[in-house]
């Protein structure tokens, strides 16, 4: 039962262009969503989050969009840089359950070409 899905295993973009990573979820009780970046031999690093009461959150080059009716979120990186090459995970939680348990997608490997 995959409650959070990232259907694109990989994405390749040119430096300076936009990277768009997508994530779908099935559990309507999820009310907090996060994106993590992971380099090899390191743990996931928190990037950006969004609460279900919002539809957009921006932090520098990173913007997350949430479409609750479609149960879909996306991460936009503009402009993309070679250092952004990593595996990106989206994660979801039910804040109301007060457990902090995160449900992760399978990840999307982003390659930014110079």
């Amino acid at each position: 039962d995959q409650q959070v899905k990232q259907n694109s295993p990989s994405l390749s973009v040119q430096e300076g262009r936009i990277s768009i990573l997508n994530c779908d979820y099935t559990n309507s009780m999820f009310d907090y969503f996060l994106w993590y970046k992971k380099y090899p031999a390191e743990g996931p690093t928190f990037l950006i989050s969004i609460s279900s009461i919002k539809d957009k959150n921006e932090d520098g080059r990173f913007t997350v969009f949430l479409n609750k009716s479609a149960k879909h979120l996306s991460l936009h990186i503009v402009p993309s840089q070679p250092g952004d090459s990593a595996v990106y995970f989206c994660a979801a939680s039910e804040v109301s359950s007060n457990t902090g348990k995160l449900i992760f997608g399978q990840g999307t490997t982003l390659q930014v070409k110079p």
Partner: protein, 113 residues
């Protein structure tokens, strides 16, 4: 400010053995969660500890157990190791309530042979 630290970084065990992994949370955090990440997959929630008690558990067998100490550090124990337990084990710390991101350690790579 020390982040989340895990030990050891790598471990090789034989099938049937037992293993203990350790985690120290980020300063100021009192909640520790453990995740298993198999190759090519996202992290899977094992369980979470708060106030030295297991607060929630994922879909993992009883061979997986844990403990949290008064200083908030935590251990993950796995008994009767199977080949399928080979994975990256991640520890994450956070505050216990509300919208809060989890901070992850670098993980322990466990290989069962």
């Amino acid at each position: 400010d020390a982040g989340v630290t895990q030990s050891p970084t790598h471990l090789i065990k034989t099938r049937g053995q037992q293993v203990t992994l350790r985690c120290s949370p980020k300063s100021g955090h009192d909640t520790v969660s453990w995740y298993q990440q198999a190759l090519g997959q996202g992290p899977q929630f094992i369980f979470q500890y708060y106030e030295e008690e297991e607060r929630q558990r994922g879909n993992f067998p009883d061979r997986f157990s844990g403990h949290q100490f008064p200083n908030y550090s935590s251990e993950l124990n796995v008994n009767a190791l199977l080949l399928g337990d080979s994975a990256l084990y991640l520890c994450a710390s956070s505050h216990p309530w509300g919208n809060t991101e989890a901070f992850f350690g670098q993980g322990t790579r466990l290989t069962v042979v």
